[in-house]
């Protein structure tokens, strides 16, 4: 028995660990470091209909136990992602979760329709929560009705289950979660980054060229955990939790709070081997907790 294996809509996971979107590119760079087939899944960089060049640099800034980024959804565009990146990823035994972004509903629908046909794309992750693009992205993520409509539109065309990625920059994340569940979402991924800012103390001007950026890393873990805990109480579709996960203990915490799997973002920059390391450490942690199977962790905070 594989003590770490889990089944989620569309996803047969060897283990619940996957790199978060935007923190792993399309896998090529990390494939030089370890075998990507070790991963539970891979969430690829946001894909949009057309090529995007993203925001001006500097695009990242360090903060206390965290970082800000304003990459701006840079990606080669749908066509190239399918023909080159996803094709290349086929050599690995790992399900791909395609992070889908856009400006208009039609963009999302178009990307979802095509990318969901790729052989190794087993689920979509609707990025309705990117704080770093002028329109689209986060606007979809902060209004429950808009989020629900987009979810329904994408569900109508997708050939694989659809997960919706929630923004933490809202008054009531439970409301958005319930709305997308009602609209047919198969799962939820959360959280995207908190909007933040850093100034150059000398000049008083923003360090990030874009002005604001998305805050991620250990600093946001308490906020992410609280939101996962809250949403888990309100929906019955599975949650893929993320936000500051850096250690195997963080994984335990997110699953205890109600996540069925987790994603690791920023920590990949700190330790590029963090995902395989955590996967290796998980069985021992289960022993320490006296658990047989990873699924026993899910939602134990609520019991």
């Amino acid at each position: 028995m594989n003590r770490l294996a889990l089944e989620l809509p569309g996803l047969s996971l060897k283990n619940p660990i996957m790199p978060a979107s935007g923190c792993f590119g399309f896998g090529k760079e990390y494939a030089r470091l370890y075998d990507l087939s070790k991963l539970g899944a891979i969430m690829i960089k946001a894909t949009t209909l057309e090529t995007r060049l993203g925001n001006p640099t500097p695009r990242v800034a360090e903060t206390a136990a965290g970082m800000l980024n304003a990459i701006g959804l840079q990606n080669p565009g749908l066509e190239k992602v399918i023909a080159e990146e996803l094709k290349w990823l086929e050599q690995y035994e790992v399900p791909i979760i395609a992070n889908v972004a856009g400006t208009l509903t039609e963009d999302y629908v178009e990307v979802a329709k095509h990318i969901s046909k790729s052989k190794n794309v087993k689920a979509l992750e609707l990025n309705i929560s990117c704080p770093n693009v002028k329109c689209g992205g986060i606007t979809f993520g902060t209004d429950a009705n808009v989020a629900a409509e987009l979810t329904a539109a994408v569900k109508a065309v997708s050939e694989v289950p659809v997960y919706v990625k929630l923004s933490p920059n809202v008054t009531d994340i439970g409301e958005i979660a319930r709305a997308v569940e009602a609209a047919g979402a198969d799962g939820i991924t959360m959280i995207n980054t908190l909007i933040g800012m850093r100034l150059d103390t000398r000049t008083g001007k923003p360090v990030i060229a874009n002005g604001t950026g998305g805050l991620s890393g250990p600093a946001v873990k308490p906020v992410a955990l609280r939101m996962v805990y809250e949403v888990a109480k309100q929906v019955s579709i599975p949650i893929i939790g993320m936000g500051g996960i850096t250690t195997v203990d963080d994984v335990i915490d997110f699953m205890s709070a109600g996540a069925s799997a987790v994603a690791v973002g920023t920590a990949n920059f700190v330790d590029p081997f963090v995902c395989p390391t955590i996967i290796e450490q998980l069985p021992e942690k289960l022993d320490w907790l006296g658990l047989n199977h990873i699924s026993e962790l899910i939602g134990r905070s609520h019991r």
Binding site: G22, C23, F24, G25, K28, E29, Y30, R32, L33, K45, T51, L53, G54, T57, P58, R59, V60, A61, E62, A64, A65, G66, M67, N69, I71, Q74, G217, P218, A219, T246, T266, N268, F269, V270, D271, P272, F273
Partner: protein, 258 residues
């Protein structure tokens, strides 16, 4: 191969005001190929500071498996690095990026190596390799002020060396370009690393020459995955952008829009 290794500090000293030279030993040195590559250093095992710091490889000794970096202890991260004692370990990821192409200079040719401040270090290994190959380097090294000048003698051992300080407290007064304008050296190729303003000046001064420039950009992963360190390219280039960490940090003149 890129490795992550806890490397041991074998030498560490302040060689100029706030400028530290650190020598590390470990397996990672096996894979260091070209001068101009860099390592990505985690200065603390805690979450503070969180991100790694990119630092150029200043010299490589494959026999002893040692390599040296030279860095300015300025911000939070490098200041912590400066407190590491000999015998302690440092978490190093590398070697990363593509360095200066030695193959672009032929034996017997003269080249100029132009460095500014903490852009000087990678030129040292480069110069050693060029000299080994029979290339004749002329070094133009620019610094702010006398206090932060380093490696002058080491460069002099390898070839003609001109030091210039902005305030004139040591060597010539002015910028590297001031020296070049006076000197009017005859050379085939230039290699340069330093502040962006210097790189711009070099490109503008030698539009007709072959040149290789090493760029700096804020980094996340250092591996090419996060798109933090992207630079727009000029119109002459086939691609829209390059990543400093994995496509660079060294690019031929005319590639990066500066």
């Amino acid at each position: 191969m890129i490795r992550q290794e806890r490397m041991r500090v074998v030498k560490h000293k302040e060689i100029a005001h706030n400028i530290f030279e650190m020598t590390l030993i470990g397996q990672l040195v096996h894979d260091m190929k070209s001068p101009g590559q860099f390592v990505h250093i985690r200065v603390s095992d805690s979450y503070e500071p969180l991100l790694r710091r990119p630092i150029s490889i200043a010299s490589i000794d494959r026999d002893t498996l040692e390599f040296t970096i030279i860095y300015r202890a300025e911000g939070r991260g490098t200041s912590i690095l400066a407190t590491r004692n000999i015998g302690e370990e440092v978490d190093v990821l590398g070697p990363l990026g593509n360095g200066f192409p030695i193959s672009e200079a032929a034996a017997g040719e003269t080249v100029v190596l132009v460095g500014g401040g903490i852009g000087v270090p990678p030129l040292y290994e480069l110069s050693k390799r060029l000299v080994d190959k029979g290339v004749k380097p002329i070094h133009i090294l620019g610094f702010q002020t006398k206090e932060v000048v380093f490696y002058e003698d080491l460069f002099r051992e390898l070839g003609e060396t001109h030091v210039v300080t902005v305030d004139g407290t040591h060597g010539h007064q002015g910028f590297v370009t001031t020296v070049l304008a006076d000197l009017k050296p005859d050379f085939s190729t230039y290699f340069t690393c330093g502040p962006t303003a210097m790189l711009v000046a070099m490109e503008n001064m030698y539009t007709d020459k072959k040149g290789f420039l090493s760029f700096e950009e804020r980094m996340g992963c250092g591996l090419g995955a996060c798109f933090a360190c992207v630079c727009k390219t000029t119109e002459q280039t086939a691609v829209d952008y390059v990543k400093v960490c994995s496509d660079g940090p060294v690019f031929p003149a005319g590639v990066v829009q500066i």
